[in-house]
Assembly symmetry: C2
Homo-oligomer: 137 residues x 2
Amino acid sequence: MATLLTIGAAAKASGLTAKMIRHYEQSGLLQKPPRTDAGYRLYNSQQLQQLSFIQQARRLGFSLSEIGSLLQLWQDPARESRAVKQLAEQHLADIAEKIAELQNMQQLLQQLADSCSADSSPDCAILAALAPANGLK
Amino acid sequence: MATLLTIGAAAKASGLTAKMIRHYEQSGLLQKPPRTDAGYRLYNSQQLQQLSFIQQARRLGFSLSEIGSLLQLWQDPARESRAVKQLAEQHLADIAEKIAELQNMQQLLQQLADSCSADSSPDCAILAALAPANGLK
DNA sequence: GCTAAACCTTACCGTTATGGCAAGGTCAAA
DNA sequence: TTTGACCTTGCCATAACGGTAAGGTTTAGC
């Protein structure tokens, strides 16, 4: 039998929030679900699967736009795994870039922090590094 | 002599954009600079130093709110380096957390991507991992 | 049957740090 | 004087939500 869940139950089942689900619907990621006479959204098991799919993809850091593409591929029996992998590789490249940026910040700042005495004196390598060259003329 | 720069020149000198400078002013990070009769903002060397300070701090990933605190400390001769370092340590912790999240995603997704054949077949470990347990009944 | 709690609905604002655009005023050089 | 390069304000857009308000619905208990 078709089990239909209201948005709150669907949220719990998928690990999302009702707010997120409405947001995904509004941004075109999800088809509009049927409604009760009172206007309540009702989700069937197929849509629940989609919700869980989205939640997993979000956990991997895919953007909603990327997830749109992934959902399309998922539902296309004629998809080529090549296309899926390409999306993943692109996302991996983005992740690697962000990590590199953060590690760069981390390294620079850690060095400065290590050189800061952290006592009651006003002198601190961190501020010194942020301040523009003073050209002590 | 006091060299006064218009916002475009100040932007170039500090590595920011005019838009950013106006935004920092509007969000209370910078004091309102004097204006010409025509309403053009004019920046002196002290404010240019602040702009460069902000730009450096942004490069290290500090939020505008954190930079507000750093600026305060910078301009306080009675500051304690302890306070500066505490801000830096907090930011380092935030950075480390983000890196950890990204590395977690990276590791998970890389494993899946490695298991994806990337050919014309529809089968792909990535989609399989995103799809909820199918309970092949 | 009635009431209160726990749902649901839409709509709008706030977050963060910008970029973009429009409509208009200003300034300097040719 | 005209043109181009400035400057001004103001409003919209981004990504992916969370919060809140004002209101309708359903359910459980009494």
